[in-house]
Symmetry: C2
Subunit: 190 residues, 2 copies
């Protein structure tokens, strides 16, 4: 059932987008190739016409997740606004469409090196972007980068932990988000 070149490209994108969301939601190893293809409206057999392996898809999906997230972020709204959204219940509960760092950080060590490189690039880029947002408020470049790295760790840790306990201890989950939100504001607002 050959399809036109436009359809072929659409299918490729659909597979990649479906994978990016499904991998974030359930982790690389808990999503089957068949599930990704089905979410893209195709059958599993055709997968290897689009990607050489599941690992290659994982790398591409990880990269796409970071790119999407960086593009969606609007620096002009300021750091405070960004932290509020990142540490919100909405972001905690939108795992599939959320930041790839809390989703992938725990699993990435067990993935292929290429996937790990894709992830590390994303983390580095994210720290850099945050450092630039901070940098505007004076301080040296080194200090901004160090502060950014600390903020990223706090943000990611808060969301990872808030998600991990959300199903069994709603209050603790909320507390983790709120405490980091307030703590971070007190910190970078010094």
């Amino acid at each position: 059932v050959r399809v036109s070149k436009e359809k072929l490209e659409e299918h490729h994108d659909a597979v990649l987008r479906a994978a990016s969301r499904l991998f974030r939601e359930h982790g690389f190893d808990n999503v089957t190739v068949a599930e990704v293809m089905s979410a893209a409206g195709l059958t599993h057999g055709g997968f290897y016409g689009h990607f050489a392996s599941k690992a290659e898809l994982a790398g591409a999906a990880c990269h796409l997740a970071f790119v999407d997230r960086l593009n969606a972020c609007d620096p002009s709204r300021g750091l405070s606004d960004y932290l509020n959204r990142y540490l919100s219940v909405a972001h905690r509960d939108d795992v599939a469409g959320g930041c790839p760092m809390p989703s992938f950080a725990g699993d990435i060590r067990r993935q292929d090196k290429s996937v790990q490189r894709s992830f590390a690039e994303g983390v580095s880029g994210f720290v850099q972007k945050l450092a630039e947002m901070i940098g505007k408020d004076a301080t040296s470049r080194r200090q901004a980068r160090a502060l950014a790295a600390n903020i990223v760790a706090d943000m990611v840790g808060a969301v990872v932990l808030a998600r991990s306990v959300a199903a069994v201890d709603r209050g603790l989950s909320q507390e983790l988000l709120t405490s980091s939100r307030l703590g971070l504001k007190a910190m970078y607002g010094y």
Copy 2:
């Protein structure tokens, strides 16, 4: 090959200890029952004489990891010393014997409810313990708890991220640990 009651108890403990380390190192779903039993010096068939299922083992192993960690921690050495050790390269690289929060946080959502409860209890207890360490230095109980929650998020996020990029970007991994170590000291030392 029936064994004595003492041996039986020893075997039970050995299985639990092996599971606690292996699960922390590789994640619940990436360790087989056979591997746990083998690490305990037994064969896989005898497993169901000790535990009703792999999920039950996961819950018990998670609980044990938190208990071991809390017992090992010495509050009298102070918060600063504790942070230094938590955010060290040694702790980053000792996944099997390290804190269960960075190891389990990402996977726990996909485990049985009983395992999630065991984890949430551990997190809550950890925050509480940290709050008590902070509480000594004056401040109200509520503030101490909020500060503790933020510190925990930062610590866990830094270790999770440092581990996730360690294999492909040593410098970034180091940077994340160091930035959080310095940032946290500046914060709780205010």
